[in-house]
């Protein structure tokens, strides 16, 4: 979900998806989509020949951005986010 961060943190093999947090393998109940993530991930695991290999998967999240952006977030802000928001005033 954040392949650029994985690159910065020096992950040796990376598969990127442009999905909301909590959905690494896709939509609930969509086995076909889940397979379109897991299978390439396995191919990268076994087939990458050099450190830093990154493969981004071209699947558009099938929910409008505004809706998906809200949907992944917890109903209550996490403790660190609450602290961050309080500090910011």
């Amino acid at each position: 979900m954040m392949p650029a961060v994985a690159e910065e943190r020096r992950a040796p093999r990376i598969v990127g998806v442009e999905f909301p947090f909590g959905h690494a393998f896709g939509m609930p109940g969509d086995k076909s989509m889940q397979r379109r993530i897991l299978e390439p991930a396995l191919r990268v695991l076994a087939g990458a020949t050099a450190f830093g290999t990154r493969v981004d998967i071209d699947i558009e999240w099938p929910v409008p951005l505004r809706e998906a952006y809200k949907a992944w977030q917890p109903k209550e802000p996490s403790p660190i986010v609450r602290k961050f928001l309080e500090t910011r005033g």
């Binding site: 979900m1 954040m2 392949p3 650029a4 961060v5 994985a6 910065e8 943190r9 020096r10 040796p12 990127g16 998806v17 442009e18 999905f19 909301p20 947090f21 909590g22 959905h23 690494a24 393998f25 896709g26 939509m27 609930p28 109940g29 086995k31 889940q34 397979r35 897991l38 299978e39 991930a41 396995l42 191919r43 695991l45 076994a46 087939g47 990458a48 050099a50 450190f51 830093g52 981004d56 998967i57 071209d58 951005l65 998906a68 952006y69 949907a71 992944w72 977030q73 917890p74 109903k75 209550e76 996490s78 403790p79 660190i80 986010v81 609450r82 602290k83 910011r88």
Partner: protein
């Protein structure tokens, strides 16, 4: 197509993640060649979604995190590949877990991996998989000192040739 890593992240949080570089001491590349054929390899999964089994495992300690927002539970759970989805719960304060509870395969696709094993895409899947809670103390001290060595040992016992790490 290049994935936008920040598409779903609130804009004000972006500087927390972007341009931070590697953790101190982890600047050098780490590389382990994968020598075996995928179709002859045993594969494990690791999710950071904070999954646990309601019937037999304690949840990750979110109460302590509520009291100390800088802290995250560094413990881990093993999730049997054939676990009843209704028995899988989530303890993670940073995501909405509704979709995960509806279909845990979106973070830990154990049944799909079993299917890929039956088709010969992979040799086999481990009988259990790993779950951690991805929000951790910034120093990663508990994670490095206690959790990681145990996970590596566990993966050895499971005779895993490779592991897919799935962030939540």
């Amino acid at each position: 197509m290049i994935v936008d890593s920040y598409r779903f992240l609130p804009r004000s949080f972006r500087p927390i993640y972007e341009g931070r570089g590697p953790f101190p001491g982890e600047e050098s590349p780490v590389w382990a060649p994968f020598a075996k054929r995928l179709g002859a390899s045993r594969i494990a999964l690791l999710t950071s979604a904070g999954l646990y089994l309601k019937s037999s495992q304690p949840p990750f300690d979110v109460a302590r995190e509520q009291d100390n927002p800088e802290w995250g539970d560094p413990s881990w759970r093993s999730i049997p590949a054939g676990a009843d989805p209704a028995d899988i719960a989530v303890a993670h304060l940073h995501i909405n877990d509704q979709d995960i509870r509806a279909d845990p395969e979106i973070v830990l696709p154990a049944r799909l991996l079993e299917q890929l094993a039956s088709e010969g895409v992979v040799g086999s899947a481990t009988s259990e998989h790993l779950s951690v809670m991805g929000y951790q103390d910034r120093s990663l001290e508990g994670w490095r000192q206690e959790t990681l060595p145990k996970l590596i040992k566990w993966l050895g016992h499971q005779q895993a040739d490779g592991v897919i790490l799935a962030p939540a």
